[in-house]
Amino acid sequence: MALEYRFSFPLPLGLHARPASLIQEAAARFTAEVLWDNFRNGRTADARSVLSLIGTDTQHEDPCRLRVQGEGEDELLRALRLLMDDELAEREKKAEAEQAEGLGKAGIPRILGLEKAVFFRGVPAGPGIARGPVVVLDPALEMSPGNLPPAGPAGEETQAYIAAAAALEEEWRRRREAIDAGTERAVLDAHLSILRDPAFSAKVAELISSEKTGAAAAVLQASRVFCDLLQASRSQYLRERMADIRDVSRQLVHRLAGTNLPEEKLWLDSPSILIAEDISPSQFLALDKSLLAGLGLESAGTTSHALIMCRARGIPAVTGCPGLREKLNPGEEAILDGSRGLVIPSPSPAVGRYFEREMRADEERRAVRRKYALLPGRTEDGRSLEIAANIGHPEELPAAWKDGAEGVGLFRTELLLMDRTTPPGEDEQFAVYERLAAEAEGRPVIIRTFDIGGDKPIPFLPLPAEANPFLGGRGVRLYGRFPDLIRSQLRAILRAASRGPLKVMFPMVGAVEEMARMKELLKQVHEELAAAGIPHRPEVEAGMMVEVPSAALLIDRFADHTDFFSIGSNDLLQYLFAADRGNPAVRDLASPRHPAFLRLLRTIVETAHARRRWVGLCGEAASDPRLLPLFVGLSFDELSMTSSAVPEIKARIRELTSAACGDLLKTAEGLASAREVEELLVSFERRERKSDLITPALVRVGSDSRSKAEALQELAVMMEAAGRVRSRDDVEAALWQREETFSTDIGFGVAIPHGQTAAVLSPSVGFLRFAAPVVWDAGGEPVEMAVMLILPAPDPDREHLKLLARLSRRLVDEEFRAKLRTSPDAAAVAGMISSALAGE
């Protein structure tokens, strides 16, 4: 006798994959049959199939029935009732909590957590935000049916499918037995459950018999049907199942259609986000870039050619996102945030709006940057400091010039060695360097010779395994072993230098003899070229990287053999402090703020200048605006950095004077630790900025924000646009952190979001008056105005705290609030708040 249980479905998100798999697990423990009826839409499912259950499209509070018949039916029904009434909701809550963990991390907008959005996190690979339909580059799944074998009789196709599925199941089962528990086994289990899923095989059989499709085409189509179903639900877990279905389908298709699948063709016919495992430079070049809105890659390194070209063209890109091809459904709408490294499929309206606003803010940010880029690299008192770019590919030049770089301070040549089995020939190199020379349009370009060794293996260079590669064969030390490699590089550079102002620079020089040998080699190469009648420039400026502390202390002797010095701060720091920058346990010991490092830099610069040699710095430290006053104090001639940092550095340098920076440096050199120097830099920055707590730029009297999330976003963006913050994300995160402790809705229609973060440069007050009142907390009264108070941390001088305390006291005064509510414009509001702060 059949038993039944009627209920209304308890989960707000409906019956998606996670609860469906719990039901399926329970059902699978018994032999009894279990059917699921949804009375709202009349669908019925076999409860032992996850896909079948999902296919009922059961939503929150749908009237449903479970029918159980067979052995153990009493016990099974009891288990299922418990699940429906109780456990399902409980376990769902737990799973969501686990998912929510990690959402609070930096760089992940809070809106994603609030909206319970599915998103994938990779590595930022090209700044900017893209929105559009997804095109997935995937050989098996993007095949047109025309490429598949023609359909035979339905009976044969069905048999072929059954045979392929059975063979695959057998193979996986054997593999599964051979491995212990772990990720791989879990993956195989998931795949097996799809392969055995009755709903999946039923769908395939149905397509074969009713649509007269071949088995392979039916598998692809069934995979699509179920993936479309899964796409609708907002669950990370479910995206993984989508990946499983695709993976299983791909393998089935390979069995059914043979492994000789045609090479994928790649084209876009409308603006799209392209998702691929990796794409080759030739594929990238073949793409219509005007239709490439964004690029999401699973496994490419950030220095892959395609990504370099993306950045050069301003196309947002994300990489390091495994499984992305399977987790996204071709054609679905997605947002790709290349600044934060996020891919968000099927965004909710609120998430969509948030990112649209981000895109608008990006646009404004770009306009400001274009303005800064035009500034000269010069201090307020007129001292020049060349601001140059570090690049690794000629494709990056246009972006560097657009960012305002005044030259290339470091052209890394290692890309020429990557992903190949033979060394690059002289002519190939010449083509690259010549392009640099031509496109530099008279600006200086410094080419660094191959920085081989260290931890980067090069397939065609037999480097011995060393216990400590960073203290072993590296850079110039290895050139004696690979004479042809360096000779061909220098020949190519001298030849290209006849077309433009190229300079050459040698890495990892530690001994004067090494530099002398390189100068000698340059001379030889010139003589060879001259003898052969090959056009070239007889002599180029030759400099050295200062990375080895011993070289840093012998600059005067090196000056006999070198035309300039460029400090490689990343390596010089780790060699000076004996601390690996890649090791989080000791990384902080090697700080560019350390007085010992500053003293060493002063020695280098003063000695070089005494010998009339110029000195630059091309490590990461060059792009840190907070360190800039020290570098000005040190009298560097050039700073070279990632080109995206150039506009901000140019904007900052013109606020500095050499005298103040010189004094600052002297004080810093006398301190005892990096922490003390950092505090000094912070207070220098604040003292010098002396900005007002509020300006009209921080006031908006007709804010279009519709939610707390949008309001906090708007405040953070305003802070950034006003140049008061390093990272707007940090401001938003600090405000949210505060909101989550307890709400900042103080009643009277006013909220006072506030917080402290190191990202803020000067204490600030921001003001939003909403065009339409905003619900600040669920169930609370809507808010008409938000007054933000944000302070830098740490916070050595506490003067502004008093001011904010005063403002806070004023805000509880009805009369004051009424004035804020009716004040006509931004300037008036800023004025009122300023006087309140001044105690008037």
């Binding site: 505060r738 402790t741 307890f742 709400s743 900042t744 103080i746 009643g747 006072i752 506030h754 917080g755 402290q756 108070l789 302070l791 916070d795 506490r798 705290l801 008093k802 904010l804 305390a805 005063r806 806070s808 006291r809 805000l811 509880v812 005064d813």
Partner: protein
């Protein structure tokens, strides 16, 4: 009647001072002497003296974090409320205390 209070919120930037302001203002309006010590980001301000505490009929803690130097209030009648509550309904807090103390 004299009432003393302490306000303290987690960041100590804003709520601490708003709550203090509201309690003092409400007291003035109701004809009570209310003195509030703030324990905010600037540390303790407007510190309650031993005499203030001795004379107080009641003590209000409007706090979201632990009170510093709590031992000063041993043996006193303490009303603990949320910082938000003090900002939004300072008068009814004082009224409730007034009623309970029967004056």
């Amino acid at each position: 009647m004299t009432i003393v209070g302490i306000t303290a919120c987690p960041t100590g930037i804003a709520h601490t001072y708003m709550a203090a302001e509201r309690l003092e203002k409400a007291g003035k309006k109701m004809g009570l002497r209310v003195k509030v010590e703030t324990q905010g980001a600037m540390g303790i301000e407007n510190e309650l003296t031993a005499e203030d505490i001795r004379e107080a009929a009641a003590v209000i803690f409007a706090v979201g974090i632990p009170v510093q130097k709590k031992e000063r209030f041993e043996g006193k009648k303490i009303y603990e409320v949320g910082v938000q509550e003090a900002i939004k309904s300072a008068e009814s807090i004082l009224l409730r205390i007034q009623n309970e103390l029967g004056s």
